[in-house]
Symmetry: C2
């Protein structure tokens, strides 16, 4: 409740000043709850608000002309969703709640205020946006140039790594509220083939599945199979001084 999920995220990288923290907390003054499956922002809509994720999973996706769906990214606690609305009037992507979620909505103009008043936060947001781009680039390389097995492994590595950072992994085990079709739409595969690859990763002793629970048994080998590059930690040496 109290506190700001975004501030918490940024605190991983820098020690926030009281003023910075207060400004971020103001962004998360409101809270909105949504059911699993709910569409937060639909492709082509022009909502006036972005959201900070306070709890739950979401994903952003696009639909292609042929009816196929591509999931771009999953969003967890502390992520900002709807950022494309800073650059485009109409949302290029659909944001969907994967589980029940709690979101903190805020108007784009509020962000302008934070940027003007807190240059270091502005620089951090730029860093995070760039890091998001790099993460997408990694996914692109995975889908463009690796086997189905590696793609699935890579997605699991990414999700597991992020969950662990958020303290949501319990001795290698996480909740994975995705259908195999979701995983297929994120990796550019069919659900049938995802099934076979997951099975194979399990047979090879890298993971263990039971219901929605996923246990990573051999993270090192899983990452190796995936050509997965971990990119934890932001560079902060260049940031301007806090206002």
């Amino acid at each position: 409740m109290g506190g700001s999920c975004l501030a918490e995220r940024l605190s991983h990288y820098v020690r926030l000043s009281a003023g910075e923290r207060a400004a971020l907390e103001r962004l998360e003054a409101q809270e909105r709850a949504l059911r699993r499956g709910a569409v937060v922002i639909a492709e082509g809509e022009s909502p006036r608000e972005l959201f900070i994720v306070r709890s739950g999973w979401l994903h952003s996706s696009v639909m292609l002309g042929n009816g196929a769906r591509q999931i771009m990214r999953f969003h967890f606690k502390g992520d900002i969703v709807g950022l494309p609305l800073l650059a485009f009037g109409d949302s290029p992507e659909t944001i969907t709640a994967v589980t029940d979620v709690a979101l903190a909505p805020f108007a784009r103009e509020r962000l302008a205020g934070v940027i003007a008043d807190h240059p270091r936060v502005a620089a951090l947001l730029l860093s995070l946006a760039v890091a998001g781009r790099v993460s997408l680039a990694d996914r692109l390389a995975s889908i463009g140039r690796t086997s189905a097995r590696a793609r699935v492994a890579s997605l699991l590595c990414e999700i597991y790594g992020r969950m662990r950072l958020l303290g949501l992994a319990d001795k290698g085990a996480i909740q994975l509220p995705l259908t195999q079709e979701d995983i297929g739409d994120a990796t550019g595969l069919t659900s049938v083939h995802v099934n076979r690859m997951m099975r194979r990763l399990a047979e090879d002793g890298m993971i263990e599945r039971s219901g929605n629970q996923l246990k990573v048994l051999d993270e090192e080998r899983l990452c190796a199979v995936a050509s997965f590059a971990d990119r934890t930690g932001l560079e902060t040496g260049w940031l301007p001084r806090p206002a």
Copy 2:
């Protein structure tokens, strides 16, 4: 020579103040020329500078464990390359000159100064970073969920659209200094298959090729085949006032 390519880029979206323009021009005070094929930043390096492209083509790519290469994006006049160095100490990608290029190097810390002094520019840079992410997302959807023909068409649409915006298209014709292997590495295909798809697009009357020259004969159909979404124009309504 005079003027700033980055300022010129941003001027497409807002009317820059004299102070903003001067700050951007200072970023491009130096110029460095490189030959085609030169590596500007190598994956894993930790250079202290980013670059603004003043002329020529570059691309950013990653090498996978299996020896395969994925090209993420091509960079033209006015683009900033090396942005990932804002977020990571080691470059996650390799920047390579496709043609002879002229670059303006500047230290990361200079950017911190611009962000602190010119909040509207900071917000614009955030917008541009977000737009870059969206562009990558479009590529991801193309590679993940469309046919080889559509992927090649999509890449051509993107490049053609950007060239035209820069005034580098002459009645549908542009210089395309890429090998079919480059195009394959950007679309996740083999050069052999790229060849067949380009041929087919030409046979179908959408494009015309001769040497390095590419002529787009039927842009509308090419975009339709590619499920290509044009995303020209940045949203600027939310930006803070200029300092």
